[in-house]
Amino acid sequence: MAFTFAAFCYMLALLLTAALIFFAIWHIIAFDELKTDYKNPIDQCNTLNPVSVTEIWTRDLFQLVLPEYLIHVFFCVMFLCAAEWLTLGLNMPLLAYHVWRYMSRPVMSGPGLYDPTTIMNADILAYCQKEGWCKLAFYLLSFFYYLYGMIYTLVSS
């Protein structure tokens, strides 16, 4: 069992993918909370908080977006260095998608993708939810793929 650089990459990717899965789940829960807030049968005044749920979650989402993208970029760089072309190829579409998403975000001064004034539009909300589920599925599959890749590189040399 040779502990090559590739195996090390896969191991690190495995751990970081766990973090990405966590982010994706948080993302999904955040949008679900935003969406179902109104169905809460609490009396009206309880929802009149000066800081709305919208603002809280949008703020949190700001803190999720950049770490997720940076971690993913880190993976790609690592696999590039380890010459794992198949894995790199599988991650390229997601990298391209992240770049496109960040370039076409609404005008804002801080980092972030979500504008509190438009996020409540049902089509934007639905899009973000779908995005969250797709990413969760992708990261889960990646997790198992990296697990396989790690065992393969450990065993096969």
Binding site: L34, Y38, C45, L48, T54, E55, V107, M120, A122
Partner: protein, 862 residues
Amino acid sequence: TSVNKLLYAVSYSLCVYTQVETVLPPPQSLEGGIYPGTHVFLPFTAGWLTSPPFGYNYPAMQPGYQQSPTPRAGSSPSHGGYNAPGYQPYSQPFPSLSQLSTALGGLSGVSEQEVEGLRPVNLLQERNLLPLKRGTPAEPNLSSNLRKMNCSPDTFRCTLSSIPQTQALLNKARLPLGLLLHPFRDLTQLPVITSNTIVRCRSCRTYINPFVSFLDQHRWKCNLCYRVNDVPDEFMYNPVTRSYGEPHKRPEVQNSTVEFIASSDYMLRPPQPAAYLFVLDVSHNAVESGYLNVLCQSLLENLEKLPGDSRTRIGFLTFDSTIHFYNLQEGLSQPQMLVVSDIDDVFIPTPDSLLVNLKESHEMVKDLLNALPAMFTHTRETHSALGPALQAAYKLMSATGGRVSVFQTQLPSLGAGLLQSREDPNLRSSTKGVQHLGPATDFYKKLALDCSGQQIGVDLFLLSSQYSDLASLACVSKYSAGSIFYYPGFHHVHSPAQNLKLQQDLHRYLTRKIGFEAVMRIRCTKGLSIHTFHGNFFVRSTDLLSLANVNPDSGFAVQMSIDESLADTSLACFQAALLYTSSKGKRRIRVHTLCLPVVSQLSDVFAGADVEAITCLLANMAIDRSISSSLLDARDALVNAVVDSLEAYRANGSNLQLSGLTAPAALRLFPLYVLALLKQKALRTGTSTRLDDRVFAMCEFKSQPLKQIMRLIHPDLYRVDNLTEQGALHLNERMIPQPPLLQLSAEKLSRDGAFLMDCGSVMYLWVGKCCDEMFVRDVLGCPDYASIPPDMVALETTASERTRAFVSWLDSPPSFCHSVLLSVRDEPSAKSSFFQHLIEDRSESAFSYYEFLLHIQQQMSK
């Protein structure tokens, strides 16, 4: 039991129950007196008209109309779709049409209105499509007692007055489904309910309304979520008839627009006092334009009429490259100016006495207003630090909330939020789309959100002559529920029309009703949901709108979708509840409920289409699309909307005519209105339009109520030099002539007449070269035609009683501020603003109406 009854009777006779208050234009009379116990139910006429009803009294067809030649001999007169009680069936129906009407009438008991709404109209052949006068839309197909109780269409209107049962049916009709609301409209009759318990559904929290069903005396079924609730005991007693056991006779269940007095459960904090802050630009540019004089005069006149009570607070802030605060403490000999020059970190110089109690410091405020215009006459400052001034305003107002009125005359050039000039004048007439419709920075949006969180509404008055990036500045009002006013090229001497407009707007702005710290929630029957909101507010959660200030001149629109089939119900209901603090510190809830039938046939959907509401909703959608994607996309989408809906009608209906362009009578004006929309400043291409003008026109569409928007899109044109008494209205002992509406085409203008065009906020009076001398002399007060000055602002001091009566009647619906009347002479130089409204004509870059119809026909046959 009888003891219970006695107890309730005694206890409630001690409280005041229901009041019918008359909301007169001076808002102070509202919320004032308390009327003991008496209650008057007005007979609610169709369509919730204030008494006396306008426009419903004209008897038969006006002779003027019958004489106008219709191109097709023997065709039925093209009225209908807008039904008056004096509706008369068409005299010569087509043979096949009578078969259609009997067939339809026999089959499903469809009313005459429905048949009329479905009557096929060949747009290419029938020219006179306009109704005689702009009236209220067709009524929904409900039983008459439901119709009586239903909400007024001026307050609450749906694009389809018969809701389709499923989303699939809605998609087949290719028409948008949405609501247009004007919830805080000035009302003359408003039932106010002061009971201790507000009866609401336990699960969905809907307020009890006229469309619930009482299962028996003690249980009621919610019409939105179908849950069965109990009737509380207090509700069983009806204070009006002093009877027990008839909960369905209570005023909440008899009126679809009611106002509740909210208890402390509905308050997060004690109701705030009315607080007004004026933030004024005093740079050199601003002083040159002279708006300060106009503003200070207006404020001095209207200081007592500002809505509020003894706790009302007022403050002033002026800024150029530094920020100036004014200490208005009563006791000082004169107002004291405090200058803060550190604009990167703005701080408030003194903790209080900058926002002072109006009653106590009345004299100081007046001194300041008298001195303010003169204080800055020799200023040399050319910079404008708007961003820091707004930050200072925010800090000053965050404790209480209230209204900030910002007056700006140029591009903010200093400090946070500074803006660059983004407009390229060479691209003003570009046909390839328009850039820079969205904000350049999110500074103003973030500030607006902060203000909204502290219940501060920011209103913007932009009085600039050059590009001021309204697209970015407008964000500060859009998300804090403020209003935007724009006076391009304002100068107190050189632009008398703008001057007059500012004066009139200020008068309305300072004296109109206002609500503070408001939230609005719109609920629909189970199965319908709202997915997009349009208007000036912040969407706090999926259906809760946060409005820091609410005023009677703003309208909202929402788009809906049908999530589940509505097959098991025959009525769909919508309720808009607005919780606000009145200017006198009382917490109130205004509730409007609308009920519409649910239909399962596509033809019924078309018969109930409300073309004005559809046009306004499409305008809102087009503006969103042009900001998020591109203007050309938005224009294409509008044309596609017409093509798709007419195709859907053709595919569905029995094909009476295969050639020509057939539309149902309910949608006969749809292509005309969409063409008018495409020629608006907001959406036009190919004609030189300044970017700020365009952005302002977009903001107007998104925030004005439906009536104003329709007048913007399709103004009313009348001939006024030959007003007759025929068919006139008699109102308050005055005789108001009712000339017919004319089509917006130069064909209808004639050299020897004078024509009035009502565009909502502005009215144009076009005088032909050979117009009757008597008219010119009497009505305009000029000795002859040649002496009418161009762009004269004709005031209401004309000698002719009839004309004046007509013009002031046009101007009179209480919700709008007064229009400015401009005169236009028949010569090339003075024409552009008037002629751009004649939308049926061809212009250098746009179709005429007939060409547009041909274009649509072409698109349909692809």
